[in-house]
């Protein structure tokens, strides 16, 4: 089990270097967010976010996630309760989301 000690996080807990991310770090961050253990639906979201970030260089909006990952709005809020925007970005190793949508 990876501990978060080797991972550099900013003051709000987001990874400083998204390229240093791996699935074990995601599990550890999910634990902190009270989301562990991650199931395959969580991973459907995280994998899409990672892929989209790789292609566009930006973290996708929640609307983009719900349109393209196969996880709809209701399910997304159930998987990442109490504030999915930050939780998804954090677990996927990306920076704090800046978008409005």
């Amino acid at each position: 089990m990876t501990t978060l000690q080797d991972v550099s996080l900013d003051t709000e807990g987001f990874m400083v270097d998204p390229n240093a991310w791996n699935p074990e770090i995601a599990e550890a961050l999910a634990e902190e967010e009270g989301l562990a253990p991650l199931n395959e639906r969580h991973w459907a979201v995280i994998d899409f976010v990672r892929k989209d970030w790789g292609e566009t260089g930006e973290s996708p909006t929640l609307r983009r996630i719900t349109k393209q990952s196969g996880v709809n709005t209701k399910e997304l809020y159930a998987l990442f309760p109490k504030g999915p925007a930050k939780k998804v970005a954090r677990v996927a190793g990306l920076g704090k989301p800046k978008g409005c949508i």
């Binding site: 909006t61 929640l62 609307r63 983009r64 719900t66 709809n72 709005t73 209701k74 809020y77 309760p81 109490k82 504030g83 999915p84 925007a85 930050k86 989301p97 409005c100 949508i101």
Partner: protein
Amino acid sequence: MDEDTRTLAIINSKGTLDMAYPGLVLANAARMMGIEVKMFFTFWGMDIINKKKSDHLKVSPVSTPSMGMPTMVAGLPGVTDMATTMMKREIEKLDMPPVHEFLEMIHDAGAELYACKMSVDMMKLTEADLVDEVDEIVGAMEFLEMTEGAQILFI
């Protein structure tokens, strides 16, 4: 204030395209960060949740000096439709959904939508005239009761 208990009450009293979006965007942003949201639609704001009107709201360059159009021109036939088409295009570019889809999204995200009883009566509407996302038709006092302690936004 603890985010777990923070609630935003948004009162939407206007039915133009440019006045509908601020409330919808703020409601969505609040839900994305885990803030509870209760929206109240009243007077012209009823158009936002009216099935026949929600996707046909308009923005008028008349008395919107920010759009920079002389009033004489702004009042010409077709100008409002043209301005509306242009604004909708810009909204789409920002990945913002049309109004009805936006309501669906924030409702799925857990925001509660309420229609004003007095406006429903005044405009001779019934529940069937309103989009399905509306949770209930309530009076002003009832809405204020259920949002006790919340931060209130009047738009």
